[in-house]
Amino acid sequence: MNSFVQTMKPRIRSFRESMYLLARNKLSLFALIILVILVLGAIFAPYIVPYPEDFYDAVHTNEQLLPPSAEHWMGTDELGRDIFSRVVYGARISLTAALAAVGLSLLIGIPLGAIAGSFGGWVDNVIMRITDVFLSFPPLLLAIAMVALLGSSLNNAVLAIALSWWPWYTRLIRGQAISVKERKFVQAAETIGTSRARIIFKHIIPNCISPVIVQASMDIGGVILTVASLSFLGLGAQLPTPEWGLMISTGRRFFPDSWWYCIFPGIAIFITVLCFNLLGDAIREILDPKTRKN
């Protein structure tokens, strides 16, 4: 019991310190609160939206393109569906897709970067030249090309984004790994005969992870935008999925007379991306003492 308390004490202290640093930055705290609301909204969407059936199944052709009102806070779309309900459901799709794409990129990028940095030599060369090939294309263009090959769907869009995003994490962690592998605790582990795999996964990766976490938290906003862009181009989510980019794409043909159709999903994207960027800044401040103000 004593040992457990001893172990947990520094972690609790560290958590408290992080919360203190986060609370000190009002903008980041605001972003965190918004994101928490967004996540809760996404999770409990069926219980909080006024028209849960409008997520997928329903059409009400007698209520087409109604402007915002007390009954429909964000108006209705061309098939009479409540846009507020669909925007809230859309949070589910956008957040899930973004987390899946970033998670998948991390799963590919972190081990490859750590292996490249730890082994060096030809292994490093091969891995880094492959990442250079991927990095030579803009991520959105590469994702478009991949979706064109795989076929249009949200799952394929997520896969395509992950496949175009991982090299950034590989490069980042490789740089860290090169520095960490020279440190004494790694050399000590090598000396006592610890296997290379154990050194990489037990010692190198945990000590390289901070910048990757910062980068990933900031990337989520970018990935949400990319998912929305692919859906806007017809390469991501398919109708009638209430994905924000797809909603804007469908709504643009009604824009001159029914502005609400595009504007509200657009605002949802804007707020979400902004909040993730602010939160990313805050996480960087917490994990990297050098960037802290005061």
Partner: protein, 533 residues
């Protein structure tokens, strides 16, 4: 002294250039007549052509080709018959196997050469030899089928068919029937796509760049030109309905169509700027059901789908009345159409009844429907269909695609990899029901447009019989076509969704915009004139 001379010369040049380019205040220059500089802008939601080869183009290029090339005859929608165009008169033998066309003797090609019968023969021979696009319309003339085409006088062409064929209708086709100069016969499709042409029509192609085509008047056109006509036409793709609407409102374009229902409704209110022209077309929207694979190989399941489609809602709510529900394959206004053919209505009780009869467990079924993603009305209608099917417990996945992708999947050699449902628009190659039956419903060894993958001997026999009777026994052919449509409806091989109407929104400054249903999408710009103030 040299410096002074240089200065005087430079000033003189500047004055000369300024004089040459002096504006007359209405966008034209003083050196040319107003008619020479006026430009008619037509914006479209699709690209104006796929190719510009008059022998092989089989799509949107009709918008351009109808103004650059001409055919021997032209369909008249008011009489339902064909009128003379490059031919002055024609006759056939009793069984419709030998046709003699007399040609005009005052037609010149854009290269200045005179049109003679040999060039007509060479044009049709080129199209037959290339065998692409709508070239099948000449099948009866193929040597392998016992046919031939020959010049039997300077201005007389004799076409011998291997079997009876309505050559007067075939020569009026919007595809594969264009007459071109001998000077371009040997040219490739790429050469035509660079913006070259060799037609006899009122316009030549001045520029072609994928999404834009510029047409310029052929000054020696036999009909002549007047000042109120447009000698320059720009056809440009602007995919967004709202952008096309804005261009009309600001006067940046004078003709456009294919607006979303809301944009069209708004434009109809702006009577001080524009007016609308609505035309019946021979275009209809069909949904093919994959009869080769489970569960659409089950006739009762197909009938359940047929009763679940929201026909009326599509016409009223999605298309705002700019269409009508189809009755059979052949649209109203064309021979072969009958209002007596069985017509499905949206009836969810009947759909559930047929689903039960089919024995298909809906929970095990997941259907996919493919459609061209740029057609927003398809997406809206299919979402209502999807919601209706959900009531039956059937899952429908919507896949909006580019046409090439959609068609490639439909032609996959493995039937299991094809879609369950396929939506697209069809219009005839020439005003004859054969276009729907031969292309869409007749069995074929290699799948082209038979996208329900039908192989029904009874249907094939009726189609073959109708084709053979078209010239000699029109009533008999019509009866066969009607019987064929009844089979298609009863078996729900294809769902006939709606017949399209084309609405053009036109600037108040021009008149004469008209669309002939036999040449869907094409406007004869030669007939468009400015409105006198």
């Amino acid at each position: 002294m040299k410096k002074l001379l240089s200065l005087v010369l430079a000033l003189a040049m500047v004055f000369c250039l300024a004089a040459c380019g002096e504006s007359s205040g209405d966008g034209t220059t003083a050196s040319a007549s107003p008619a020479d500089n006026k430009i008619l802008y037509h914006t479209t939601n699709t690209e104006p052509y796929i190719t510009l080869d008059p022998s092989t183009e089989y799509s949107n290029g009709i918008m351009v080709l109808q103004n650059v090339y001409e055919t021997l005859t032209r369909y008249n929608p008011e009489t339902g018959e064909v009128d003379p165009l490059l031919a002055t008169e024609w006759s056939s033998n009793d069984d419709g196997t030998v046709w003699v066309f007399q040609l005009r003797d005052d037609v010149t090609f854009h290269d200045g050469t005179q049109m003679t019968s040999q060039q007509v023969v060479n044009s049709i021979t080129r199209t037959m030899e290339l065998g692409q696009g709508g070239a099948y319309i000449w099948d009866a003339v193929l040597e392998s089928n016992g046919g031939k085409i020959e010049a039997t006088g300077d201005y007389e062409v004799t076409i011998t068919c291997g079997y009876p064929a309505a050559m007067d209708l075939i020569t009026s086709a919007g595809y594969a029937a264009y007459i071109m100069s001998d000077s371009v016969i040997e040219q490739t499709t790429e050469w035509f796509n660079e913006g070259n042409d060799g037609g006899t029509g009122p316009y030549t192609i001045a520029q072609a760049s994928g999404d834009t085509v510029v047409l310029r008047a052929y000054e020696d056109y036999r009909g002549g030109w007047t000042d109120d006509q447009y000698k320059n036409v720009m056809i440009r793709q602007v995919p967004e309905s709202s952008a096309r609407r804005q261009m009309l409102e600001t006067g940046e374009c004078q003709i456009s169509g294919d607006f979303s229902a809301t944009d069209l409704a708004a434009l109809k209110e702006e009577t001080d700027i524009v007016y609308t022209e609505q035309f019946e077309t021979f275009n209809n929207i069909v949904m093919f059901l994959n009869t080769q694979t489970y569960p659409c190989n089950n006739a009762d399941f197909r009938r359940a789908l047929a009763y679940a489609f929201p026909y009326e809602e599509t016409v009223t709510s999605i298309l705002n009345g700019n269409a009508q529900q189809s009755v059979g394959m052949v649209p109203e206004g064309l021979w072969g159409h009958s209002d007596e053919i069985m017509q499905y209505t949206c009836d969810m009780d009947k759909a559930a009844e047929y689903l039960e009869l089919s024995g298909v467990d809906p929970s095990t079924v997941s259907l996919t429907v493919t459609y061209i993603s740029s057609y927003d009305e398809y997406a809206s209608a299919l979402q209502i269909f999807q919601a209706n099917l959900r009531q039956l417990g059937i899952d429908l996945e919507l896949r909006g695609m580019e046409w090439d992708q959609q068609w490639a999947q439909a032609q996959n050699t493995n039937p299991e990899d094809r879609q369950d449902l396929f939506v697209f628009i069809w219009w005839p190659d020439y005003p004859d029901p054969v276009s729907w039956f031969q292309s869409l419903l007749h069995s074929e060894d290699n799948i082209v447009y038979n996208l329900s993958y039908l192989n029904d001997p009874e249907l094939d026999a009726l189609i073959d019989s109708a084709i053979s009777k078209t010239v000699t026994d029109r009533e008999g052919a019509e009866a066969d076509y009607i019987a064929a449509q009844q089979i298609v409806a009863e078996n729900a091989y294809v769902l006939n969704l709606y017949d399209q109407m084309h609405t053009f929104v036109v600037s108040n400054t021009i008149q004469g915009v008209a669309e002939n249903p036999a040449y869907s999408q094409a406007i004869q710009y030669y007939n468009v004139t400015t409105v006198a103030e």
